[in-house]
Symmetry: C2
Subunit: 313 residues, 2 copies
């Protein structure tokens, strides 16, 4: 493909863990997501000229911002430091929400520079750079958000060493409702609350559910998916940090969700549904419930986004 002078891309938010798949499963949402605009300029070097939507939280220093750092990594890798790049980052999603905010920025940056340069690398070849971007942005190079944001759909990280990412099938009616309650749960705190040791017996229950979930995805069996969407290992600890968690679970169960749990490390929660109408219904009910408890929230209803990062123009 030909090199371009400027490009505008979108990378979607993601929901990691898929309830029973801690650290290995993730899926892409239709919305929200981040947008990045890159422009080639004459003077070599990578500069961030504008960030919107971050409430001043993100660094403009391009060596400290995951988007700038990722663009620089690709220029280094391809030995293209002859060109200069100006970056605009438009954050269109909440930071620290459990929806892969840093991953969306990382992927937007990597996808944009690769497109700008005429796509010298495949999508999967961008993944190792994305892990380094995540390491910079949040201190741990996890792939469960960057993989679905880049590739779309539902992704399985089978292994980190070597990195082995598999796209799982997406049942056509599988949708989700995501609620971001306006409380703060830093990823670091959500990780620290977890025990480093777990009972073997409970771990074996968990892998029964993971195997059931993967089977359900392959066989389009919504009932099996629903039975498998259980997490007795991570959720009991992390859900303590999320207000109204048990009440929201009860509400989604009564409303007919396939399953309910924490999105990533929270505080967002995700409900899986058969059909987008059901997802929209649950999003409304949960927002109303939180409002009645004086908790603000963002709500998103989404199919599973099978495209991943895309060029806007």
């Amino acid at each position: 493909m030909k090199e371009k002078n400027s490009i505008h891309v979108f990378a979607p938010a993601t929901s990691a863990n898929f309830i029973c798949g801690y650290d290995i499963l993730g899926l892409a949402l239709d919305e929200p997501g981040d947008e990045v605009i890159l422009k080639k300029v004459d003077r070599p070097g990578v500069t961030i000229t504008k960030i919107t939507g971050d409430n001043g939280l993100l660094p403009l220093d391009s060596t400290k911002n995951t988007v700038g750092a990722c663009v620089q990594m690709i220029l280094d890798h391809l030995q293209r430091n002859d060109i200069g790049i100006e970056i605009e980052l438009h954050k269109k999603m909440p930071i620290g929400s459990g929806l892969g905010s840093s991953a969306a920025s990382t992927i937007a940056g990597l996808f944009a520079i690769n497109q700008l340069l005429g796509e010298p690398l495949s999508r999967k070849e961008l993944l190792p750079f994305a892990l380094r971007g995540e390491e910079l942005a949040c201190g741990h190079g996890h792939a469960d958000n960057v993989a679905p944001s880049l590739l779309g759909g539902i992704t399985l990280i089978r292994s980190y060493q070597p990195l082995d990412v598999i796209n799982l099938p997406v049942p056509s009616e599988l949708c989700c409702s995501v609620i971001f309650p306006h409380v703060e749960v830093p990823t670091r705190a959500a990780r620290q609350i977890l025990r480093t040791q777990v009972e073997l017996k409970k771990a074996a229950q968990q892998w029964g559910n993971i195997a059931g979930l993967v089977s359900g995805l392959f066989s389009n069996d919504y009932d099996l998916i629903s039975r498998s969407l259980q997490d007795d290992l991570i959720e009991p600890a992390r859900s303590i940090l999320i207000p109204e968690f048990d009440a929201m679970r009860q509400i989604t169960r009564e409303a007919g969700a396939l399953g309910f749990g924490i999105s990533g490390s929270g505080p967002s929660v995700v409900s899986f549904t058969k059909g987008l109408d059901k997802a929209k219904e649950i999003t409304e009910i949960l927002k109303e419930h939180l409002k009645s408890k004086h908790i603000g929230s963002n709500g998103y209803s989404s199919t599973v986004n099978t495209r991943g990062a895309v060029v806007i123009s």
Copy 2:
């Protein structure tokens, strides 16, 4: 179906765990297996008249033998204590081998009595009785051997409460080589050697592999199956009890096996292969290797048996 006066059935040996699926996965072998012959007699009651192939290890008391106990459970359940049953059990497989010896007997008994009575229960309806039989025979009511022996193929125990058993697809060329080295590893000892707590990090690696294995089975991806056949949780502890384990692993790797590990709780080991010829080749090499170390063994080469228990006559 009509009631019969006598029946002769076969229930296959099984290999539980499938390397990365501790306590949740199992598969049925073509051979070995157990045979049971039931005869209706006039005098009510369940009697074991003959056991062969057990080296005198199994109790003839029908309340203490899993076959007798299972036949009695079904008669009680169906309120058919008006009839009498005489049982012959022909063990055609080693006991305490890690090949589901007690499960094969349990299933042969349950399947036989259900067939004799005209199949009042479905195969899946026999499973709860099989768990009680396993509880009697080996002190824990696990389903990972009884489910594949009864249903055939590769079975996933997604959950015990409620019992949720799923048949996974069987790639047509998937075969295995099973070697039973003549050393004793009681199931109880193999369970006791396991830690009750495991590292969360390692557990997450394990569920990556389980998800990868299930994906590979559904997508006929032998390479993915092979990459997923790893167990860093259970094997490091249990393999200590198995002679020549590391050497056998190395041999199977060089011979082109998809994966190698412990069958059930050992001491049998299983190698997965693409094609029966490769399985036969590996069976021969491993038997030769053990012989050179003065260790006797039984070897079996098998497709994945998709029929499970069958009527012989």
